[in-house]
Symmetry: C2
Subunit: 168 residues, 2 copies
């Protein structure tokens, strides 16, 4: 396979994976493009390469900055803004985990905490089934949350040494 074709394929696959995991396709594609670019790119270049509009490029770049996945860079003497991606996949994974935890897991835990407080007649199957499922899910969610917190906090814990020893 030729390099240009491989690049296209990489961008396409990354976009598809993103959309399957609830991240919009364009955002994942822009991220992929920056991941394989040795140098920072301008909005113009990104628009061109991916055939997307100015508005879309701008919004997507802002979102990616919001996710902590890319950064702006200014070149001395130039007005244009350049964008580049952090290339450390471990940082990327951490950043995504961190954001999803904050944006999605935390609000759900808040609701589950409320729902866990609902009281009722323990001999009523309607109540006890509801209560068991809610408290079980709440426990799991809180454990995942705590585990993530630990994982994301500790740079090189026993945990990472154990799980990802083949990788780092």
């Amino acid at each position: 396979m030729e390099l240009e074709e491989a690049k296209r394929k990489f961008i396409e696959s990354w976009g598809k994976l993103g959309s399957e995991w609830g991240i919009n396709r364009t955002m994942a594609q822009v991220h992929a493009l920056l991941l394989i670019s040795p140098d920072p790119l301008t909005t113009e270049e990104i628009m061109e390469t991916l055939s997307i509009s100015r508005g879309n490029a701008n919004m997507t770049l802002r979102d990616l900055i919001g996710w902590g996945l890319i950064e702006k860079q200014h070149k001395p003497g130039e007005r244009k803004e350049y964008f580049f991606a952090d290339k450390d996949v471990w940082n990327i994974a951490k950043q995504v985990a961190k954001e999803r935890r904050k944006r999605e897991l935390e609000p759900v835990i808040k609701v589950l905490d409320e729902l866990s407080k609902v009281t009722g007649d323990a001999s009523d199957p309607e109540f006890s089934t509801f209560n068991k499922s809610v408290t079980d899910i709440n426990k799991l969610a809180k454990n995942v949350d705590k585990t993530l917190e630990t994982m994301l906090g500790a740079e090189e814990s026993w945990f990472w040494g154990g799980i990802f020893k083949l990788f780092k």
Copy 2:
């Protein structure tokens, strides 16, 4: 909060979380409904409770069976099919992880393996940046894959004992 309101809220929240993670809202809601139902429900009852059409209910139930999250049950002397959800949250998490691994992670690894094979001039920044990102992501993906395999295979490994000791 009253039980009926709490049930509604649980179904709504589960649906929202599902859609954020790439699972269709109705599917997550039907799953939530069955999770808090002490008894199996018919298609009719599900349609009614969630105000969805017959077609939608049928498709969604089939999908949920495909994900291994719910099962059909037949009551002796009755023609209708009843549906019920596995209530063990640990099984649910395992099942979802298993399916996503198969449906999404595996195809991506296949593409990454191919892209890793692309050869080029190591002194060309275009090639070396592409190559580094692809091989790094490939390594991470394979590690996640292996880790999931281990986790999902071993019922009560050191891993779960360690990570989820507060939960089980």
